[in-house]
């Protein structure tokens, strides 16, 4: 604990809020009580269960009651931090806490809520915040019982394989001049926004077309390709040159056989070609045959590839782009570059998972990169309700129980799914984890949260259930409501930890809300991939939101639709982009 009051502490940013300076009573109290003003309280801090909320009790079995009126049932009881007297506070009713503060000499204004372990000033009648106090509370919560420790692995140490550092790119002056001199504004003279072009169905390929339409209109991805950052001619040439250097012989440009075929396989190049075609102004439906061919070559290497599922396609194609770039990054001149491929810079976020031992409170924290979040539609009771796809491995926790018809509170919402995703979940006797502190398998509490938000959040709604036990699959046709604007703040690690520890100023285990998350927790919906019909005989259609107008992309057909149609649609993959990337007004402007 720091010994001096550092003014900066009080202006600490917390979820985009700046704390007010301490009230004069707290400042006075701190000045009077030296380096450890809350030392006496520390022994009274008790968390009821491992990781439970902290409370103030002189001894564990104490039933706190107001010293003035004897009441123990009042919702708010405060212990004076100067003399430990407990007083009630029930405005507009009696407030013995306020009476205590005024009847005593100065110094008895500051009190602590006995059930919440939060500071209150009885003179100002307001909540107050103190960094040292909060640190003591959090410490007591973490170290309940056997002085458990939070052990965590920082994301950097855990997986070196995939870096997920975003470096948003915006053109500097030089870039801008180059772009303006080297390009001309797109001009269509039509009421349809640019880039809207149907994609021909090449034989049951609506699963691919639907995802491609979403990707073609994913703002940061579109910006990347349209600003020529992966040029297919350059990429091809560059790879050819490197091959020559590598073995000293020429075998790249005109060579044939397998070696050349693999060198040519670059999904990003095919994306580049597709972006050019789609944004060319030509409105006739486009056939993504070249892309399909390349992707097929990539995907045929995947063992457990399940055809016709749009989500599987999405995952495997991001991997395809990544693998190629990773190969390129191994080349000497690109090494040491922190960035990953464009697919991961756009879609990768980091999930945090805390598993806490129910016996001793020991918490193990891990961080995992993910490219989307898979959400359960049903409210399962007990069963694991979450999975996020990392790399090619896409966990599908099948054995979901039969539908519980008694769903709570009517309509399912995306926020409800996210709430469930981040809710602490008790892992029962059948899923015990090995506690490093107890040195045995214990029951545990698991909680997921989002450590780092991606630029684009893809939510995959698990509508297809595959039960390995019953050897069957089925589709859930349940309606899911999704908002057009989504605030992800409640699901961030900083918020989740804050609700676990209460309203505190404390850098939680490095998961302080960082500036990048603060700025970017607001998202806008821009694409919804829907699935209609049966499990294997269904059809995928994508709704796109451009210039705040909705368009339905059904293979070769693109039509304008009313937003109510979108709201009523059965979302299978729902795409949101950080608000700062969703340019509503600028979509209409023609660059000049």
């Amino acid at each position: 604990m720091s010994s001096k009051i550092n003014r900066h502490h009080y202006h600490h940013r917390f979820n985009a809020q700046i704390f007010p300076p301490p009230c004069p009573h707290l400042a006075e109290f701190r000045a009077r009580n030296g380096s450890k003003p809350f030392r006496a309280l520390q022994d009274c801090l008790r968390a009821k269960s491992p990781g439970g909320r902290a409370a103030i009790r002189r001894d564990p079995s104490e039933v706190p009651r107001c010293g003035a009126c004897g009441e123990s049932a009042r919702p708010r009881l405060y212990a004076c931090v100067a003399c430990a007297a407990i007083s009630c506070h029930a405005p507009p009713g009696p407030s013995h806490a306020a009476v205590h503060a005024t009847s005593m000499p100065p110094g008895h204004e500051i009190a602590v809520d006995v059930d919440r372990a939060e500071l209150f000033c009885c003179a100002c009648r307001d909540q107050i915040y103190d960094r040292d106090f909060d640190a003591a509370v959090v410490l007591s919560q973490i170290t309940t019982l056997n002085s458990a420790t939070i052990q965590s692995t920082k994301p950097e140490n855990l997986r070196k394989r995939r870096r997920v550092d975003y470096r948003p790119w915006s053109p500097d002056l030089r870039d801008r001049v180059l772009m303006e001199s080297g390009s001309s504004p797109l001009d269509y003279g039509s009421d349809m926004p640019r880039g809207l072009r149907g994609l021909n169905n090449l034989g049951n390929t609506c699963f691919m077309n639907s995802v491609l339409q979403a990707l073609l209109h994913t703002p940061p991805l579109r910006n990347y390709f349209l600003s020529d950052r992966h040029n297919r001619y350059y990429c091809k040439q560059k790879n050819g040159v490197t091959n020559t250097n590598a073995d000293g012989k020429r075998n790249a440009c005109t060579g044939d056989g397998n070696g050349e075929k693999n060198a040519r396989l670059c999904l990003a190049c095919d994306m580049d070609a597709m972006f050019s075609a789609v944004f060319s102004g030509d409105r006739r439906p486009y056939s993504p045959a070249k892309f399909l061919y390349s992707w097929w070559q990539h995907a045929s290497n995947l063992a457990s590839y399940e055809q016709q599922d749009a989500h599987e396609f999405f995952i495997s194609m991001l991997d395809g782009i990544h693998e190629k770039v990773e190969k390129d990054l191994r080349k000497p001149h690109n090494q040491g570059h922190g960035d990953c491929c464009i697919a991961h810079r756009v879609f990768s976020g980091i999930l945090r998972s805390d598993v806490m031992c129910m016996a001793c409170g020991f918490t193990s924290t891990t961080y995992d990169p993910c490219v989307d979040i898979s959400l359960d539609l049903e409210s399962h009771h007990g069963g694991s309700a979450k999975s996020a796809s990392t790399k090619t491995h896409h966990s599908c926790n099948g054995e979901a129980d039969s539908i519980n018809s008694g769903q709570n509170c009517g309509i399912s919402t995306l926020m409800g799914c996210l709430d469930r995703f981040t809710r602490p979940e008790r892992l029962g006797a059948d899923q015990k984890f090995f506690c490093q502190q107890c040195q045995v398998r214990q029951e545990s509490l698991k909680q997921m949260s989002i450590r780092k938000l991606p630029l684009v959040s893809c939510f995959h709604i698990k509508r297809f259930e595959h039960s390995s036990i019953r050897k069957m699959s089925r589709k859930i046709d349940r309606y899911l409501q999704f908002p057009f604007s989504l605030d992800m703040t409640p699901y961030l690690s900083s918020s989740i930890l804050r609700s676990r520890f209460g309203n505190r100023i404390f850098p939680f285990d490095g998961d302080e809300p960082d500036a990048s998350n603060e700025m970017s927790s607001e998202f806008e919906l821009f694409a919804v991939v829907t699935h209609t019909g049966k499990l294997d005989a269904g059809h995928y259609v994508t709704y796109l939101r451009l210039s705040n107008q909705w368009y339905k992309c059904d293979d070769a057909w693109v039509t304008q639709v009313n937003e109510n149609i979108v709201r009523a649609a059965q979302g299978y993959m729902i795409f949101y982009v950080q608000k700062m990337f969703y340019y509503k007004p600028s979509e209409n402007q023609v660059a000049s």
């Binding site: 039933v63 003035a68 307001d126 509170c409």
Partner: protein, 116 residues
């Protein structure tokens, strides 16, 4: 807890005695139940249940929105927690869904049946 009696003109001890006398004689049934609820840890469990239900049904978000609106209207620096509690409490009490009340009542009943 250390008592800094030197600086305290009227130490809290007599008050504590008074409470003691009070509690030994005239505890109402309600108070006894409350103490049993606290001592058994049931009160904490009930609170947790209530918290969860109120979040699920959107009550908490509704209250949050009300608090935000009030704070925005009054100006961030002119609102205390007590002000918020004062404005929100009547609305909050009135908008707890009946199903939540029923569930909680049922839980309290079964606790009483087992405890007394």
């Amino acid at each position: 807890m250390t008592h800094k009696r030197a600086s305290v003109k009227r130490p809290p001890t007599p008050v504590a005695d008074q409470v003691h006398a009070h509690s030994s004689q005239q505890l109402t049934l309600q108070e006894i139940i409350n103490i049993k609820l606290i001592e058994s840890g049931e009160k904490e469990r009930l609170k947790e249940l209530l918290r969860e239900r109120l979040i699920e049904c959107g009550w908490r978000d509704e209250m949050k929105a009300l608090c935000r609106a009030f704070t925005r209207r009054k100006g961030r620096n002119n609102v205390t927690v007590d002000d918020l509690v004062h404005v929100i409490t009547p609305k909050g009490r009135a908008s707890v869904p009946d199903s939540v009340k029923a569930e909680l009542l049922q839980s309290i009943r079964s606790f009483l049946a087992s405890a007394i």
